[in-house]
């Protein structure tokens, strides 16, 4: 059986679907750095340039989840879950006006998962 690197909680998926309805095609890009960083940013698909420098970790709720390759090198041993938390984040992420913020919860991938990851 194939294991996923990234999944989403039902609460986060509900918000994601609402935002998809509002904004059309979207992507997640995991941010690094300052202030509102280290958070998944939900962006209109046509707004954000994705290329070979980005790694596609998988799909959650029909939305691709990317992060830059250099960042992935430090994250690849962990499993990610997209969740939401009440609060006002900053940034250009589409969730900001909703009063909820997407948040990454992480845990270590186990041996079984590590052997059968896709991608």
């Amino acid at each position: 059986m194939d294991y996923k690197r990234v999944e989403i909680t039902p609460e986060a998926e509900k918000l994601l679907q609402e935002l998809k309805q509002q904004h059309g095609e979207v992507i997640f890009h995991q941010s690094g750095g300052c202030c509102d960083g280290s958070s998944p940013m939900l962006l209109p698909k046509e707004d954000f340039y994705i290329d070979d420098n980005d790694f596609l970790l998988g799909e959650v709720g029909g939305v691709n989840f990317y992060m830059s390759h250099d960042q992935f090198e430090y994250w690849k041993h962990t499993h990610l879950t997209v969740d939401i938390v009440k609060g006002r984040g900053g940034s250009f992420s589409l969730d900001i006006p909703t009063g909820y913020r997407f948040l990454i919860k992480s845990r270590m991938l186990n041996d079984e998962e590590n052997k059968n990851l896709n991608p």
Partner: protein, 499 residues
Amino acid sequence: MSYSAPKFKEKYGNFINGKFQDPIDGKYFENHSPVDNKLLAKYPRSNDKDVKSAIEAANNAKDEWVKTSASERAAILHKIADVIQENLETFAQMETADNGKSIRETMNADVPLAVDHFRYFASAIRAEEGSATELNENTLSLIINEPLGVVAQIIPWNFPLLMLAWKVAPALASGNCVVLKPAEQTPASATFLAEKIADLLPPGVFNVIHGFGPEAGKPLASSPNVDKVAFTGETTTGQLIMQYASKNLHPVTMELGGKSPNVFFNSIMDHDDAFLDKCIEGAVLFAFNQGEVCTAPSRILIQEDIYDEFIKRVIERTKAIKMGNPFEESTMMGAQASSDQHQKILEYIKIGKDEGAEVLAGGDAAKLEGNLANGFYIQPTILKGHNKMRVFQEEIFGPVVAVCTFKDEAEAIEIANDTMYGLGAGVWTRDAHQLYQIPRAIKAGRVWVNCYHDYPAHAPFGGYKKSGFGRENHLMMLNHYRQSKNMLISYDKNKLGFF
């Protein structure tokens, strides 16, 4: 002594064309204090219409503003500095209410540094000159610095007034009009400043737009009618803003955070003296401003032969940090800026533990009592591990430091540079050779040597690698807000002879 939140009005407007204006579509958002989660005031939830109006006001003002002499602009900047100085206590209380940081920091760092910043740029533009070079006996090259016109600036919430000063002072000094978007978490001090300096500047020269990134930030950053975008924030939004600017071929400057190494060599323990005491404090500075600093020394590297002895004293000092009501002067560490920030930090502590990091201090939320029970507090936390762990590689933006050891200089440099970022670093040693050679080997824009977290104007500040580019805090920032006009003048009466 104890302070309190200043009085706020029920709601505020955007500051456009010298006046406060209601948001065009009439929407507001609520701004709560992280100290106790209580409502402070409502601010405009602006959209592209409000942003357009601010950009228009700035464009209408720029032709007159550009004609002002350096001495006039310097005088205005000094007056802005005076206004902040005269209202120091109000600004400090406002920053504490809005951001959650302790009053001793806002009174002694945020606000005085903002004052000095305006004074520095007021002075810098009086002292600098363009240039004239005689290229040959008949040809003169004149270089004249000209402002870009209208500058869009997007600033973060960790030092609301100071980040404003870092961006607004050089932009105004160099003769630009500004449209500023403060962070949605901390709209208070920019609004208060606009109120206080409304009469000092011609209408439209300084505009403040509130709102959310996707609704107000995006139309500001992507507008073809601004001439530059300056941003402080995180990497993904940084890339996005650069893309928007690329459509217009607009210049940008970026300050995008870091994971700064703070390196302690064994010679620091040669004597138990004032300097060693300074080194211990230098390590504990990870908790300064609740760790919400882009240059937070969030990785401590200790030479292995002094590790046990040194970390023992760092832990003792960390455990002595007094948390509490940020408005109490004796409080050393206040609240995290928002609930989502609070939750994110706890998630990082958890993944650090999962990865096998050992908790040497803290490791959980801090539960404060009474009316602070709903605030967002985290215990200062020290995690011991290795540099490949995620807590060593990601900016947590909280009072959490990751500690590891190194054998020798080569390993210290290797670990220090094993990061995506390059904003700050600290080097602590009594060895004269290390004092120079280690900072040179670390790929970061600011290396503090035997000190940390000092941000004086006149010392350039900016990133290497994914920490961005541009150098704030220094007169070189003036040229990030200017064009160079070259006039090439011939004093030769004779033609070239080609035609």
